[in-house]
Amino acid sequence: MPPSPFPTYLQMRERVPPRVWSAARVVGLLVAAAVIAALFVDPPLGLFLFWGLIVPALPLLFFLAPGLWRNVCPMATLNQTPRLFGFTRALTMPKWFREYGFVIGVALFLVIVPARRIIFDDNGPALGLLIVVCLAAAFAGGVLLKGKSGWCSTMCPLLPVQRLYGQTPFLTVRNAHCRPCVGCVKNCYDFNPAAAYMADLYDTDPHRSGYRKFFAAVFPGLIIAFYTVDASLTRTALAIYAQFASVLLLSAGLFYALTIFLKVTAIKITTVYAAAALVLYYWFSLPLTADRVGGTFGVSIPMEIVWVSQGAIAALATLWILRTIRKETPYVEQAIAPKPARVASGETLARLRAAPEPASRP
């Protein structure tokens, strides 16, 4: 029997022992604490660590092995701590949060990214405070709501990026948090990473799929805006947000025009947009990161290394587009495959099971 192209985490092999994940989470928390401390005590160092090293690595990690991040992310660790130590209230999400949790995450992301240019790129204590607030919110979500529904699988501002980039991981890492699964959210990424994004995009609720399409539509625009909008000190925050919004609208306008004129399924356009966002991000950020890292360590990183890295990422993104689009057919095949009807109750089944052999029949 060939393996399913959409294995759930319960069907994946556990390659890394739980205690290794636990140790990695402790290390993750310590790194987060050290970065926060640096942001307050030695802001230039903290800003370099966060914006110069950690953040540039995350999109590629979400693209290559998103499960790895989801298993060790400090926000996820704090979110799951109440469950681990048995003091979560494990409530089911209220209806409004079920509907708008993801939208809140998208909104937070769209507010925070432009705010980098206004304050967080240069102000260590402000960034430290933002990280502390996010960690505290993740923890509070874990105290109140069951599973990962209080943060990681709903309103985490990084979730929209993880779901978009992580839909066809090159390395699938088994979810190491949820023991057992409590079925807390619909189309859970951690339960079935390869199917989660398509399931959202093809959801029969047009709002649910619409929120995901909207994020994919504006994401490349957000990256272009981030690296091109003039955010000099003389400009107001409102002017900066307005300029971001105009680029986002252009990006979304092109997306919706393409969906109308190209006559292809939505997943093809969201996939190309996601890959474009990744390539654009590293097109802009790699030279800056090379400068920043080189400057900090007093070395000059040759531009050839940057170009080769950008080329490698573009090649990887192209391969990813092909892999993502190729799994659409098996997804649809399985989604429309008829689920068998069944007889009603255990009692009826027991009666059928005990049916006499044909020879004894009238």
């Binding site: 393996p3 079925g183 959210v185 098996p330 429309i336 008829p338 009666r351 049916a355």
Partner: protein, 161 residues
Amino acid sequence: MGGASSFFPYPVPSGDERPDDLIFMPERSPAQWDRLLAFVERRGFHAGEDVIKRGDTDRALYIVVEGNLEARVTEGRAGKGAAVPVPPGSVIGEIGFFDGMARSATVTAVTDGAMLRLSFEAFQALAESEPDLAQAMLFDLGRILAIRLRQTDEFIRGWIG
């Protein structure tokens, strides 16, 4: 139709999942089931066996009573067609039972088990001796197919945006 829920078989129901189980003849009494059982034959199967093959023209309805199987509608690329779990209690073969055309899926046993087979000839005999029961059965299979058609329509509407 399995829909997205076939990719997310949570051990416990999700808070925002709708129950989508299709129950076959939920209103029938034990006595009516016993009357139906007089027309079926029991068939055992072994793990790895194809109990129904796509393209075959056997016009029978099956109820799985023991063991687990998997249904594959297509072979898919690289031999990885999507598999739908067929647990005990499942009713399978209804499309071919109605239209008498080739089987639309291959159903393969994952474990050893057994199922009840109602051949088309046996159903005709049932319809002669128990017309009310046969009518109820046909209406219920029709209801199940209608629900699936609606679900497929919904999915396709979502798919084409």
